[in-house]
């Protein structure tokens, strides 16, 4: 993975100094709340319900074991001994003290980490596929370009205070796992017909209050223009995006208001001036950064391993885990492993200090000292030998990291919700845990098969509920918490937004509602259908009919 040189290190060190002084001025009353807010937000610090929340950047989801160990230490020293991995591949601390943040940043800087632009109205952490570099379906490893874009976006002066947050995702696979269509800019890297690196650029996607999938603004952009083309897009947005209403300030609203044709025209006018400007990426820069992402020193292994086969034959629990948590790898004899941060009954995405240390040890011992965070809020060991899987499983299982539910109903994607977040209308974690307990039967979960359930505590949609096969949105009705349910959302190449099935439910109704949705699926599915396929074939109606069959007809509609 990318290693800092003196220039990178100087920038994060200077950031610590800058932020330390900003915090000092705030505490001394020299900066007002309003003035300090964008400064702390651009350093990932929210003021939350109980305490501040600090979001630490994990650029494109890559971590070294040393970094994870430090994150675990920080969670132990400055927080309550755990952290929350988010849908943006970052790590959030829920209980740091505002005055400790400069010290936390100083500790992060010692392991080449920071919290720069993890929040606020600026270009956020750039995300990508958690299997980048090892996925068999990968056409281009997008990590070098992601790193080049990370550097370019860091303190970009022109885009320091945008109308609203700005999220960029990059991917390089046939099957999109980076949800490029739901980002402000999505960059899909591919090799063109001349075998040259090119980018399909999506713009104007996003969830939140107004969920919209992105539109292709440029089907073939040569890679060296990635930065200047983004500058053209973001300049048009910076100048013309709405600033009077934060709910209408994302680029998707501007693209929709102007229409993609007019928006594209304006971008092309800007780009005609920016094309080939000094920020054009050079071959040598791409080569330099790419060296950091070269293939690991893999051993030449056979595609099969006798000890692995024997374990599969004799150990059903191991087999169940392998089936869900182990993924194909482009190198023979290697696999990628997902460590589940979704044990039933705990907050999805949470990891304790001890677990972070265990995962760091596993990475050191079995996966070249590196790991990744997935946007599904799990941790990935990307390069594990087939013959090591059993040992990894045993250690992971002993530490609550081997729930074999990856991609199953209880692998819930969930925001921190009303327990922590001051934006939330409703709690989300208790809903997740109640559903996990309702479906706490692994055979049944495996029978239900591939399904994605997403929960957001408000319409800001940090839990990406719009693209959940089942999406749950917390809404506020006269001061009490209700949950609106949608089905039919999906990420990936055939991304779609879910449809709301009807009036909202109370928290205690939710496990039964999900149960009823699953019952309809089990009854109606064809042998090869996943939940999402059945929903797409039958539409919402039969699900809605069953869920509301015995509900009082006087129930009022609750809308978000």
């Amino acid at each position: 993975m990318y290693k800092y040189d003196e220039i990178d290190q100087q920038i994060v060190d200077e950031r610590v100094t800058q932020y330390r002084d900003q915090t000092r001025r705030y505490l001394a009353g020299e900066l007002s709340e309003d003035e300090f807010r964008p400064l702390r937000l651009q350093n990932g610090l929210y003021i939350q319900r109980h305490a501040p929340m600090l979001r630490i950047a994990v650029p494109y989801g890559m971590l070294s074991s040393r970094q994870l160990r430090k994150l675990g230490d920080i969670a132990g020293k400055y927080d309550k001994g755990y952290g929350h991995f988010s849908t943006r591949q970052n790590l959030q601390l829920n209980w740091p003290k505002l005055e400790d943040v400069p010290e936390i940043l100083a500790e992060l800087a010692t392991v080449e980490m920071h919290a720069i632009q993890t929040s606020g109205n600026c270009i956020r952490n750039i995300t990508t596929d958690q299997f980048a570099g090892v996925a068999p379906d990968e056409m281009v490893d997008p990590r070098a370009m992601a790193e080049i874009m990370r550097q370019w976006s860091t303190f970009h002066p022109e885009f320091a205070l945008l109308p609203r947050k700005f999220k960029i995702a990059v991917s390089g696979t046939r099957d999109d796992r980076a949800v490029v269509q739901m980002h402000d800019i999505g960059m899909e890297f591919y090799k063109d017909s001349d075998n040259k690196l090119a980018i399909k650029v999506w713009v104007g996607g996003g969830l939140g209050r107004t969920p919209i999938l992105g539109t292709v603004i440029e089907a073939h952009l040569e890679w060296q223009h990635a930065l200047t083309y983004c500058e053209a897009i973001i300049r048009v947005y910076n100048l013309h995006g709405r600033r009077d209403n934060s709910y209408k300030a994302r680029i998707k609203i501007l693209v929709k208001a102007l229409g993609i044709e007019e928006f594209k025209r304006q971008v092309e006018v800007e780009w005609s001036h920016l094309k080939d400007a000094p920020n054009t990426i050079t071959e040598s820069e791409l080569a330099r950064v790419s060296q950091h992402f070269e293939a690991m020193p893999y051993e030449a292994l056979s595609a099969n391993d006798a000890s692995f086969d024997a374990a599969i034959a004799s150990n059903p629990a191991f087999t169940a885990w392998v089936k869900r948590s182990v993924h194909a790898h482009k190198i023979a004899g290697y696999r990628a492993v997902t460590l589940s941060l979704k044990p039933h009954g705990t907050a999805p995405g949470d990891a304790t200090t001890e677990q972070m240390h265990v995962v760091a040890d596993l990475a050191d011992q079995y996966s070249f000292g590196e790991l990744r965070v997935s946007h599904e809020q799990n941790l990935i060991l990307a390069d594990v030998k087939l013959s090591d899987l059993f040992a990894v499983w045993e250690k992971a299982r002993a530490n609550g990291l081997a729930t074999p539910n990856i991609g199953l109903l209880t692998d819930i994607i969930c925001c921190p919700g009303g327990d922590f977040c001051s934006l939330a209308n409703a709690k989300s974690i208790p809903i997740a845990t109640a559903i996990q307990m309702q479906f706490d039967n692994l055979d049944y979960l495996h029978d239900i098969g591939d399904i994605e359930l997403n929960i957001s505590g408000c319409m800001n949609a940090c839990g990406h509920h719009h693209i959940g096969h089942i999406g749950i949105l917390g809404v506020d009705k006269d001061g009490s918490e209700w949950y609106q349910v949608s089905i039919g959302g999906s990420q990936g190449n055939d991304a779609s937004l879910g449809t709301v099935i009807g009036p909202a439910f109370s928290a205690d109704e939710m496990p039964a509602v999900v149960q009823k949705l699953i019952d309809v699926y089990i009854q109606e599915r064809t042998p090869e259908e996943r939940f999402i396929d059945t929903v797409r074939r039958l539409g919402v109606a039969p699900f809605k009919a069953h869920v509301y069959a015995d509900k009082s007809t006087t129930k009022q509609e609750v809308t978000a």
Binding site: D5, Q10, A160, R242, R243, D244, H273, N279
Partner: protein, 205 residues
């Protein structure tokens, strides 16, 4: 003490301003000048400043003055002589259209001073306006940030081509000086240093 910071050959110092900013008289009608709606204004021709405001804006008869763009465009004839003696600068609001300024003069560099007024410090359009004035329109003279100008934005203003900064009156410009140098080696090219880091240094992997 003056609250103006000026940058001369990269060296920042507090200095006295020779320029007086001409303000528009308060409007009688509710102002509507938000971003995004600018697009709408262009389509509908709706104006953000009334003819009366333009006509009654008070321009002192001597000394260097920075006049609002709308006043400059409408009353250029009466300012013509003072323009030739470099007494007239123009300020634009962040929602205004730079092309209107550019097309109002035969040579942008005939203006010794352009200022951009930022109403709220968090309005980042000012950075794009500075960048465009310098890189697109080739403006070479003094470019000043006025309005809600605070120290934590100075570094970005400098990188976006601004060479003087009128810090908000209730804040210390002297203390703000330090923030111009928050970072030594920026990653990306911008107005003050167009080359990105990978074209300035031979970075090795």
């Amino acid at each position: 003490m003056s609250n103006l910071i000026t940058l001369n050959n990269g060296v920042a110092a507090i200095s006295e301003s020779e320029w007086t900013i001409v303000k528009l008289p308060a409007s009688q009608v509710e102002e509507r000048k938000q971003a995004g709606k600018v697009v709408l204004f262009k389509l509908t021709g709706e104006k953000t400043v009334s003819a009366e405001q333009i006509a009654t804006a008070e321009i002192s008869s001597a000394g260097k003055v920075i006049v609002p763009l709308s006043v400059f465009i409408a009353r250029k004839a009466e300012l013509q002589d003072r323009m030739t003696s470099n007494q007239i600068g123009v300020w634009v609001d962040t929602h205004e259209i730079l092309e209107d300024l550019v097309s109002s003069v035969s040579d942008l560099n005939s203006l010794p001073m352009i200022a951009v007024h930022v109403e709220r410090f968090a309005d980042g359009r000012i950075f794009s306006l500075g960048t465009l004035l310098r890189s697109r329109y080739g403006y070479k003279n003094e470019l000043r940030a006025i309005g809600d100008v605070l120290r934590d934005q100075l570094y970005f203003l400098k990188r976006s081509g601004f060479t003087s900064y009128l810090v908000r009156a209730d804040r210390s410009a002297t203390e703000a000086l330090a923030s111009l140098n928050d970072f030594t080696n920026p990653y990306q090219g911008a107005v003050d240093e167009p080359r990105p880091v990978f074209k300035r240094y031979n970075r090795v992997a």
